[in-house]
Amino acid sequence: MNKEPLFRLTSVSKSIAGKTLLNDISLRIEAGDFLSILGPSGAGKSTLLRLFNGLDSPTGGTIEYLGKPLFSYPMTELRKRVGMVFQNPVMVRGTVRDNLCLTQRWGQPSVDLTEETLVSVLSRVGLSPAILDQDTKTISGGEKQRVALARVLLNKPEVLLLDEPTANLDPQLARHILRLVHQLFEKLRLTIIMVSHDHSLLSNYTTRIAFLIGGKIVEEGAAGILEQPSTEAVKTFLAGGVT
């Protein structure tokens, strides 16, 4: 019965120190979308993604979540519902277990952190339970990215924001992680908003694509637009040229 979209961005802009990073962005994201935001480096993709869980505020326009202004939600609660995985998976000092149980630091009774749950969330991201007590200093970049995913999943989010989750991984690992994200999308019915500057791996997974170039959404639509872009800027970008 709720016909409101999950996210509605209306004329959102963001400028810092007189520099316009995002310009007049309007976007509807429905529950169940797998939206990929594509664009060259420096286009403002990370800047845009950080608005969805309120890590930054826009300087103009409005963002709504389920029909209500995003910032009318208590931020700590909203960020549990809209989880985020950063480009560099940051680990706190300690073991994988310490990193999975971070929410204990602020006593979240609703987060289930029993051994059983930890093991099952690890298997969901393709890690064996043996890694639980390993120091995060000794695990690989790909494993860190998976731990970061598992950590967010424990919050049982509705939306997952991913900022170039595969940028620092070799192509084979990148495919693994993408497949994993797609499994989460299908099995957990998560809405996914993923930022990437590399379109080559996406077409099998994504349901929608938005091209962000120079702080503006220049084209937006179903995954098919990868094959037939209509703007010159997107054609140049997809051809690997500079825009």
Binding site: L55, S57, T76, R79, T103, R105
Partner: protein
């Protein structure tokens, strides 16, 4: 016992310039090239402390509580301004108010307990107790907050990604900076706790040395020193926690976002 047996006259003080002369000779011999600075420093020590002696003599003759309260308030304001001035690389909102306010509170608590319950000074504003103790509290508090706040900002700078990761999991601001808070307070406290461990084993503290030289029974001097050590560690803990409790909040918006631009040096 309490006759002052080693009274230094002004002539004696002039004779102590011999020590400086030796130092001067040494740095000249090794061509260190600091003769002028050392001379200026030597003269300033003389002038400032001699001046302070006269000023203190004047203060110690005052017998009005309002005068003492004003004086201590002035000392706190000057220290607050100095603390603000030292934080010149970063612009922390409300920093002057935070430092000054925290100093006021700390002095009120620590000085209050000492004057009222430990020394039991009559009247409470008796200048011989109030002025030097207030000075010690304010001086230690100021140095410690400078160290603590600098360390805290350093921690924020190199852990900004970790802090935002915690925020994005739903952490309140206080939890997201728990480790930086803890590390910066520990860094300020550890040297102080070490001197609680070491005091008297190698070196006598300056205050005690002065007291003993001017003829005070060592057992009395020691009691003062113990009180001073406890006062000092308490001051540092109270003021550091108080200052950080307000400082960390300046780095977050009401929407619990890290204000990254505050972590850039001022001139950028």
């Amino acid at each position: 016992m309490s006759q002052s047996f080693y009274v230094i006259t002004w002539t004696d003080v002039l004779v102590s310039f011999i020590l400086v002369a030796i130092s001067l000779g040494l740095i000249r011999w090794w061509k260190i090239g600091l003769e002028k600075t050392l001379l200026i420093g030597t003269l300033r020590t003389f002038i400032q402390l001699a001046g302070m002696g006269y000023v203190l003599t004047f203060f110690f003759r005052q017998r009005h509580w309002l005068f003492m309260v004003t004086l201590v308030s002035l000392m706190i304001l000057i220290a607050g301004f100095e603390g603000y001035r030292r934080e010149k690389e970063f612009r922390i909102p409300h920093y002057f108010a935070i430092v000054t306010g925290s100093l006021f509170f700390t002095v009120f608590i620590v000085l209050g307990i000492i004057l009222k319950f430990i020394l039991d000074v009559q009247p409470w504003y008796y200048p011989y107790a109030m002025i030097p103790i207030a000075g010690m509290i304010i001086g230690n508090a100021l140095n410690s907050t400078t160290l603590t706040v600098n360390r805290f900002i350093g921690e924020l700078q190199h852990r900004d990604q970790e802090i935002e990761m915690l925020l994005s999991l739903g952490a309140p601001a206080r939890v997201a900076v728990q480790d930086p808070l803890r590390n910066s307070i520990r860094a300020a406290l550890i040297p102080n706790i070490n001197s609680l461990m070491m005091v008297g084993l190698v070196q006598l503290p300056g205050v005690m040395t002065g007291q003993i030289l001017s003829g005070v029974d060592p057992l009395i001097a020691v009691r003062y020193q113990i009180m001073i050590m406890y006062m000092w560690i308490t001051t540092v803990i109270i003021v550091d926690i108080l200052v950080l409790a307000f400082v960390y909040r300046q780095f977050f918006t009401p929407r619990i976002q890290l204000r990254r631009h505050l972590l850039l040096k001022k001139h950028l």
